[in-house]
Amino acid sequence: MKFTCLSKGGGFNFPPCHILHICGFRVLFDAPLDLSALTIFSPVPGGPDGLSGEEALCCRDLVHAEPCYKTVKNLHLWDASFIDVVLISSPMGMLGLPFLTRMKGFSAKIYVTEATAKLGELMMKDLVSVHMEFRQFYGDEESAFPQWMKWEELVQLPSRLKEIALGKDGEELGGWMTLYSAADLKDCVQKVRTLKYAEETCYNGTLVIKAVSSGLEIGACNWAINSPKGDIAFISSSIFVSGHSMGFDYHALEGNDLILYSDFSFMHTMDDLDSEFNSASGTDSLRFLASADDILEERDKLAFVCSYAVDAVKTGGSVLIPIDRLGVVLQLLEEISASLDSSNLKVPIYFISSVSEELLAFTNVIPEWLCRERQEKLFSGKPLFGHVELMKEKKLHVFPAVYSTESLMNWQEPCIVFCPNWSLRLGPVVHLLHRWCGDQNSLLVLENGIDAELALLPFKPIAMKVLQCSFLSGINLRKVQPLLEILQPKVVLFPEDLKQISSGESMPFSVLHYSENETLLISSLKSSEVELPMELATQFHFKKLKQEHISVARLKGELLVGNSKHQLISGSKQADQKCRPVLCWGSPDIETLLAVLSERGIKGTVGGGTMDSKFENVSVVHVHEPNRACIEIRVTTSVVTAADEDLASQISDAICSVLAST
């Protein structure tokens, strides 16, 4: 088994990417896009003039071209046609998938949960649509090779942009791609095999693959893979209790041999690594994992955003929330409208995206993918999310674009606008930022983890208030130890970044560390097993050997490989004809042989033992009854000579019965 980390990713919107070799198959985990790299492009041509100083970047430094998209560069080092299975863990992990599926020779089976497939499709649809809109500003690129990617152009970029474009030593330039088309996207969606949570599916009879909820986002999942060579759990960024999606189902990952720990959220939080990892005691770990502190903290954050929004609206400003995290958006919609109601403010809320209507309709028909509180709403016959009522009450308006007729007819300011594309380079957010960036009463809510300075560069100078907040995106390090105590793996693979804290001796399992673009060899975790049906096993001819504690039997039947199991089933009659033992060992005792022969009515005498040319001991038995025959016995061979079939066969049988055989 081999494991290679292709990319550690970069936070919630850019999940990690790995490849696992197992039982002769290559399994790819996720195919994400690094959308944060979009910030090197300018959202509109031209831009205000400014001095291009040495230290401060300005809008003119940005790349003025049709944006390209940065994929995982290490993935390009692999031949896509050699990938057998692709497992997508979240909608974000799917954004780069069309680049793979459109490649020639790509034939891997792609497994995605139903909800992730739908949300991923909608996100990609929106990306394609806003990109098309962008092209309307620039027109089509003349050549397939973008001008800005020429080396002369690249070296002139300011160092900060150059690092994003090229990476540390220029190796990341190969990761840039021009966006896939709507046709590529459609083709990709058709190639995906969708799964329910905890649905078992079998790849090639060998790998049994199961997606179990991770709690990060609606439809996001971890993976349990059973193979004849060991059971593996892949843990992506996970949230134990969520206010929207079904929580982290860690019980389903119990008892696996190997855990691939791929939650990198700790790298993007301010937590102090050392103090937190080992602090929890294991006794009440179960209660500790399911505790509500995470969700309470999350609620506080949402309330905090709401209070800021209400303040902005009170001063006559508008609120712009360009956040792509669906779970956060859906909860914010509920919370903000409640806050507005309680402050008696009548301000419209707009949701602007090319897929907004479809997205909101979808979130109301997926009770199976949501947290317990939302499921209770189904059982009491109420809509799953608040936006259904809000739309009915005309408090929430949904538009496909800023300039759509409905939006122009209904537009009122101040207002609260939700729109995706957090990179601030594409889509309706660009128009609205230009409109409000000078208004000091307005508010922009950004997610933590994006380079706000670079992202806001084209909109400078900015008078509008900017609130940057981080939302829970993974397992708190305090909970890792208690989690592993419950899961009881034999081996855990941690990222190297967790080395100082995860290599303690107290762990009851062995720990390996992986780093980006390095292949880690994992020794076999268990040996293969064959299952024999009782009724077949009782038909076997067992033989006790002279080593008395051992008995052996030759197998019969056919081997069935399926569901990562080897099973013997009784085969067709044809196969059973050949039942004579074919493997003999030891050397026959001549006296015993003569006795056995005479029992069968065959009489013979021992001729003189001679040495043959190779100085081997040869004994010869001459048979005279019922017919002439001769047996030549050496240490490792016996040769039977007879002129008729029956006699030859009888003698051979007799020899085999004297020998140990099976």
Binding site: N364, E529, E531, V552, R628, V640, T641
Partner: protein, 659 residues
Amino acid sequence: MAIDCLVLGAGQEVGKSCVVVSINGKRIMFDCGMHMGYLDHRRYPDFSLIPSSQGPSSGFDDAIDCIIITHFHLDHVGALPYFTEVCGYRGPIYMTYPTKALAPLMLEDYRKVMVERRGEEEQFTSDHIAECMRKVIAVDLKQTVQVDKDLQIRAYYAGHVIGAAMFYAKVGDSAILYTGDYNMTPDRHLGAAQIDRLHLDLVISESTYATTIRDSKYAREREFLQAVHKCISGGGKVLIPTFALGRAQELCILLEDYWERMNLKVPIYFSAGLTIQANMYYKMLISWTSQKIKETYSTHNAFDFKHVKNFERSMIDAPGPCVLFATPGMISGGFSLEVFKHWAPSGVNLVTLPGYCVAGTIGHKLMSGKPTKIELDKDTHIDVRCQIHQLSFSPHTDAKGIMDLVKFLSPKHVILVHGEKPKMASLKGRIQSELGIQCYDPANNETVSIPSTIYVKAVASDAFVRSCLNPNFKFLKSSSEDEHNSSVKSRNCMPRLQVIDERVLEGILFLEKSQKAKVVHQEELLLMLGEKKHKVQNAYCCPVHIANLDSTDHIDGCLWLRLFSARLSDEFPEGNVQDFGEHIQVESFRMSICLKESCPYRIDDNPQNRSECLNCCCTWSVEDEKIAWKIISILKRFNLNSTNGLPGLQDTSSNCETC
């Protein structure tokens, strides 16, 4: 170990479905229904028959590991609150999301009818229903649920009503499937049943339509729509008595679609708030409906009925045509009866009836014959002049569907429940004779025991697994009965090619005291034992008779070998005859010309014949003895003539001589 099925309900009848199955020590109750036809103790399954593992007083928690409910119909879930709240079962209960959402509506509706309308003593209260449903664990389709360490269950789409599921249960190596009610053909709002190819010891299937073969539904749907259209265009009112869930939504989708196409403006009403509220559930449960509805929900949710309005009691006598859905179905009382009283006397009105009505209801009376007067009680009667249309589509599979499912799954045993006795017997006969699968149709309170599969696990060596995964084909040309013809025809007709692949036979089961059983490849065995292989071979220096063979006229042995080789491939087409110059080989059989004066393998040495014999020294190992002796018999029949200098092939039959 065995699988025991105790049929507590729906044995040779329809109603109170309940089967308690114990598999390898785990006991599961499938469905917990009530019988609509009885009002006494017979309405519930006889729970006291459930064997208890801990002694008689230990209660049901120890006796039953889990309850599985397949769908929300009362004959499948009706006794559940009674069993959990009154009998005191506290263990896990599983059902699909829609069933968990909709079952309480059905139960509450039933309770109301029983208590408030018939004035009966209630068997369970509203609180009981709520309390019971709180214990239910909702499952999604295909989700593999680990009930405990050994018991695994999984739901498959059954199509019968929204959320209906077939349930697979596996304990250790034994697995069964309980179908509940299912439909093998899709309808307006639901898809057809779907199942994986599973290895099953037992399938417990419904058999409502054990002998019926149904044609397409579309013709029946058209009849219904035409009847409705005719009525409203004549200014009449249409009464559709239904239960709140299932049929109401299916018909409503049908009517909405028709209204849209025909541009009709006549109002469609839903009677109580219940059905409208039920639509709310349906809207959220889109993923459980048919493919077509799933594809269009984002632009228009099919359960957002545009033409449907709420009905007020005051509108009963309002003029003008309309269509009304009213509960309960079968017109057993309540609002549908109230409306029926008003509308039945007019000849322009229409009443549609469901396919099946329980005896004693007005629906049943209307179906049996064409009554002109129906007596409600001693004092009141209703004149019936309106038209009656009986709906004849049913969400159950027909006999073909049952046979198809059983054939597809090919379980070791089948048990039929939920059907009528004589029809079940006929289907049982078909399953046994046509599919060769053991089939049972137990009556209520009977137990069927079938053996369960047990596997022994053995550690497999890598060499064995590898050798099994690599194809190891042997191609044998057929040696069928018409052997005597084959030599003549072999050049003309292709012999039947037989592929044998005996990889498993190279494996050896190795049992060592107090160690886990191992499976190894035969090559590994001797290494493990530290022994040396002993080869048992046969050898025979066979004299072949050749006329006029002169020792002086001795020809190179190799030339003879060529001749033998040619003859052998001719007469022995199923063998793979290889000519290596010095010797000929077929499998392990090896033959060369022996020029030695005395060969130890020459048994029947006859000096007189020596001049006419060519000695062929043959060796082979024991496993190929059949082939070897066949070749030798061919050799012995062989006759060559060397008078013409160069030996030529001669017709063997003309001058046959054996040694």
